[in-house]
Amino acid sequence: MPLYLDEDQQMLADTASEFMAEQGGIEKQLRHWRDKGCKDGFGHGLWEQFAEMGFTGMMVDEDHGGLGMGHAEAGIVLEQIGRNLTPSPFLTSSVMAASALDAASDDLKGRWLPGLVEGKSVFAVAVDEGPKHNPQSIKTRAEKSGNGFKLTGAKTFVVQGASADMLVVAARTSGGDADDDGITLFAVPRDAANMTQDPVRLVDSSMASHITFDGVELDGDAVIGDVDGGRAVLNKMLSAGRAGAASEGVGVAGGAFDMTTEYLKQRKQFGKLIGEFQALQHRAAHVYSELEIARATAIKAAQMLDEDAEKADLIVSVAKAKVGKVARLAVQEGVQMHGGIGMTDEYDIGLFMKRDRALHEFLGDHYFHADRVARLSGY
């Protein structure tokens, strides 16, 4: 598969770009909900528009009302989401939870997928248990209890957890804290008893929950996939999320970079456009190079997931790490080159820096993925 967009993908990119700029723009969405102090951190109306565009169920197979598209196409939408800093549950619901539900029973699919496709439901994923992403260690336990399970433990950094109708929760049903085996994924409905959410606003104005499970009773049919065999589903969901986050990160970096080059062409100091200063030109050209490389890597990672390629895991981590480093560079250079006004809330460039921080941390920062690249490479 060539590493550029084919005709269909280019059409999708154009559609997504236009839609997101018009409906998902910073003024209309991010600032609007932020300044209102919205408890969701995103607009349900926009989510329904996502559904009308076919985005919400784009990775759901056609038998369940979706479009049966792949990571490459989701990445195209995510790049536009990133570029416009559009707050939405797309990554967690339509990419990650959808990936997990792909392994679920027909009953479970029938229960949750229609709402997703229609843009009525929002899903969240509960994996992390500490401030740094470490999915190898799962301490939240689900013990057999009658016909079902009883869930005990705590999760953190559950993005949009409080807005979610259903949470995909990774729990341990057997084995030790860091074992590969013994993981089970559960679809936990929002109204489950003995589940307490403590939602907090994050630096990028999104909401994330600390969640406590204090003996949450779950039916046996809440299990996604096989009992004790959830690691593979979890890994697939994480890969989908990481590749998606990489694509979104390319958008964040690209948006920040475009704002910055525009500013270089407008702002005058010392009687010159600041874009005329060679030191800034070279730094901008360097960011451009890095950004192109990051974009290619994100596309490649998505394609490899779609092809179920052998080294997909490695390249997904490479993409998450590379995009992480490059987006950080792009927002840092963006704020610095904007000078004083870059520090003001009135200008958007700071919003890119904030979003990069949260997105970069989500599902493993570049330190995590650099370490993973080394491990996967055998050193």
Binding site: P131, T156, L202, S205, F277, G340, E361
Partner: protein, 393 residues
């Protein structure tokens, strides 16, 4: 000499023990704990008041200023002992102000005797809170291109224009302000004026920063009448008319020196040992911390060398620019790493556990370090020109 200092140290220790309330021996935890003085100042609590007043009586709000201007007239060595002894008990500064940090040094260097008597005493006693009017929307790095204009009306000027990045202008009583008084001379057409913020035509508008705080304002001047004198021997400007750029340059250098010196402590400390208390599981993050610690501890050595050389007048006069550049870039990196080590917890913007998002807000605040007081780019230009003497720089 050393004996005298020992005596002074003992005396100081005793005085501090008696005068500095327990509550004032805690690290400053946010803006609320800083006493800025001024007409509308209120003390946060009795302890703050008592501590300020005790210091004011001793001249310890500005310990190294001459006694006749409200200081304690301490020698550099004595002032250092006082600093050390205050640091030993974690004593908070009794009074913070741009009058102390900025205007004071300018007046001590350029002011008339009348100005010193009048303004320095006010500052030392915390009666007047000052703000600084330098930057304008179109004049950031290129400060000298500023446009705020004072029309000469004989015994007064009529000032029109707009300043930006005036720290706490909405809470300040007076402003020291660069005003163009000759449009035909870029450098020799600026006057360093002092005037009351309650004058007609002065208004301010806070600027909300990405950190969510608003320590800076836009300040508008709309036909503001500024008299040329505030009485016998007290001109309303520092230095000469049209020679305000000399004062401004002096203060910029002083500011960079202060940033270079003052910021040292935090910036030159290693970070790894602190963060390691919560564990550093990731070996790549550990490596990044080690690389940072090398840079930070090395910068600490440079800070020491810089101050040692400053004391004896060694070192290149443009060296503060290098210190400002290296120190601020380092501090940004420090906060990047603190955020990375903090993980998702450090992303929180409003939670109690983070005291209202302190890590994230502090991180965002540091991004201004390499912009305010001269951008890193301007610092590099200055190094290239004045130290390396590269052509056309």
């Amino acid at each position: 000499m050393a004996q005298d200092l020992d005596a002074f140290r003992a005396e100081t220790r005793e005085w501090l023990e008696a005068s500095c309330p327990e509550e004032m021996r805690q690290p400053v935890d946010g803006e609320g704990d800083v006493y800025w003085g001024g007409r509308n100042a209120e003390f946060k609590n009795e302890a703050q008041k008592a501590w300020f007043e005790a210091c004011r009586e001793k001249g310890y709000t500005v310990p190294d200023w001459p006694k006749e201007y409200g200081g304690a007239g301490l020698s550099p060595a004595e002032a250092k002992v006082l600093r050390q002894e205050m640091a030993r008990i974690n004593a908070r500064p009794p009074l913070s102000s741009f009058g102390i940090w900025m205007l004071g040094p300018a007046l001590l260097h350029f002011g008339t005797e009348g100005q010193k008597q009048h303004f320095l005493n006010e500052i030392a006693r915390g009666e007047i809170r000052w703000c600084q009017g330098y930057s304008e929307p179109g004049s950031g790095s290129d400060l000298v291109s500023m446009q705020t204009f004072g029309e000469d009306k004989g015994d007064h000027w009529i000032v029109n224009g707009q300043k930006i990045w005036t720290s706490y202008a909405d809470e300040a009583d007076w402003i020291f302000c660069l005003v163009r008084t000759d449009k035909n001379d870029k450098y020799r057409g600026i006057t360093f004026m002092l005037f009351d913020m309650t004058n007609d035509g002065v208004s301010t508008k806070p600027i909300k920063l990405i950190s969510g705080n608003s320590p800076f304002c836009e300040t508008f001047m709309d036909d503001v009448k500024v008299p040329k004198s505030y009485g016998e021997g007290i001109p309303a400007y520092v230095g000469e008319i049209n020679r305000g750029w000399d004062v401004a340059k002096y203060l910029l250098g002083h500011e960079r020196e202060m940033i270079s010196g003052a910021g040292n402590k935090e910036r030159s400390g290693s970070l790894g040992p602190k963060l390691a208390r919560n564990g550093i599981d990731n070996p790549v993050l550990r490596a990044a911390l080690a690389e940072y610690d090398i840079d930070a501890l090395a910068f600490g050595c440079m800070g020491e060398k810089f101050l040692d050389e400053l004391k004896v007048g060694k070192g290149h006069p443009a060296q503060p620019n290098m210190m400002k550049y290296a120190g601020t870039e380092l501090n940004k990196q420090r906060h990047e790493l603190m955020m990375s080590a903090g993980g998702s917890r450090a992303l929180e913007w409003e939670s109690e556990e983070t005291s209202g998002g302190t890590p994230a807000r502090s991180w965002l605040r540091t991004k201004a370090n390499s912009i305010e007081g001269g951008t890193s780019e301007v610092m590099l230009n200055v190094i290239a020109k004045r130290i390396l003497e590269l052509p056309g720089a």
